[in-house]
């Protein structure tokens, strides 16, 4: 369990706590006001200065060891801000975590508040100019996005029922996309996205700059060398470069430090050599989200 589970998990994982989805919490956290303000300018988040800091062009700074560490600490504080005075600009209180498809489906089937809608992904539009319906959002979040024509996909049923939404999510996972669940704002949960590296801003921030906008899953991959036949199908299934092929050993090498625990490589493996295990059961990566 990560820090969010301890604070908002009620004894379990944060995204399995039913309270985090409810309308009452949306009211308590001013979610409507927050989402209204933030969604209007969400596609500007890469170019909007937040507390005087502009992300555009600051990558060099983030990559220099000392300056980078200080800047990252400040950004993380903003992202994880739960205080009543948080501003609704930039991405205050916006935080997500990778999760395997089983957990994502469970949320859609049991916890997400209706109406459930599928929307164009903001990140892909920002990064590629591509309109791709990949983001499942719930409750008040859906009602606000209804006002934003550029996010509403053509030819997609609106709203969807739970079964349709789950099937959508599963088909995305089969295509190799990574499920992520989002606080919007902390601790109100209002979205499950299906992302890829590097077109997702969240993955990008985390993977390239080590900014805590996105955490790795509560799980990590476990590799059984006895079952691996060296077919290498899993290598191209991993969005994070955690798997590579060793011609000498004729099997796959796994870099646990790079594994985000999405579980997508399992779909590619015909020999069940890859399984997910709880992150905290593996000493090497325990507590490292």
């Amino acid at each position: 369990m990560c820090e969010w589970c301890l604070k908002h998990g009620d004894g379990g994982k944060w995204y399995f706590n039913a309270r985090n989805y409810q309308k009452e919490l949306a009211e308590e956290t001013n979610a409507v006001e927050h989402l209204n303000d933030i969604l209007k300018v969400f596609d500007r988040s890469g170019v909007t200065p937040v507390y005087g800091m502009k992300f555009a062009g600051s990558g060099y700074k983030l990559q220099t060891p000392i300056v980078g560490r200080v800047v990252k600490r400040i950004i993380n504080r903003v992202l994880h801000n739960e205080g009543p005075k948080r501003k609704h600009i930039g991405v205050d209180g916006h935080f997500g975590q990778v999760l395997p498809i089983e957990d994502a489906s469970y949320i859609i089937e049991n916890l997400a508040t209706e109406p459930l809608t599928l929307n164009y992904c903001v990140c892909r539009y920002m990064c590629r100019g591509e309109k791709d319906a990949r983001c499942l959002i719930f409750g008040v979040h859906s009602e606000i996005v209804d006002k934003i024509p550029r996010y509403i996909p053509e030819n997609v049923k609106r709203p969807m029922d739970r079964e349709e939404a789950t099937r959508m999510l599963e088909s995305f996972s089969e295509q190799g996309l990574v499920s992520t669940v989002w606080f919007h704002p902390v601790p109100f949960i209002s979205a499950i996205c299906s992302c890829e590296n590097p077109d997702c801003m969240g993955i990008r921030m985390r993977h390239d700059y080590d900014i805590g906008l996105l955490y790795k899953a509560e799980y990590v991959i476990q590799f059984n060398p006895d079952l691996c036949e060296g077919l290498r199908a899993c290598v191209s299934a991993c969005q994070f470069g955690a798997l590579s092929f060793s011609p000498t050993k004729d099997m796959v090498n796994v870099d646990l430090d790079k594994c985000y625990g999405c579980g997508n490589c399992r779909n590619a493996c015909q020999h069940n050599a890859l399984t997910l295990v709880p992150r905290n059961d593996i000493k090497q990566v325990a507590g490292r989200y």
Binding site: K40, G46, A56, G59, Q63, C127, E130, D208, Y209
Partner: protein, 88 residues
């Protein structure tokens, strides 16, 4: 993580060619966004007084992840109005 390059890359977009005041609306082009592997660019709207804030109509491209540019120059080759310059 992507290594820091020695010497910073500079990427400029000529807004008089591509952007709200330019000949091309980037939403109809998006070639540089698709061509760049990383991608370095972002497509975003510009806040203009009197515009509909739910459905803005002014858009431009900004190079955001400049430190990740590999200097491959593909964006320059692909831009129909030569709006991009990459230098270091």
């Amino acid at each position: 993580m992507i290594a820091v390059r020695k010497g910073k890359t500079k990427i400029l977009i000529d807004l008089s060619k591509c952007g709200p005041d330019g000949d091309i609306d980037p939403r109809n082009c998006t070639k540089c966004l698709k061509q760049c592997d990383r991608p370095v660019f972002h497509l975003h709207h510009v806040i203009v007084d009197g515009d509909d804030s739910w459905d803005p109509s002014y858009w431009q491209v900004t190079p955001v992840y400049i430190s990740q540019c590999t200097r491959c120059m593909r964006c320059i080759d692909v831009c129909p109005v030569n709006a991009i310059s990459v230098s270091w």
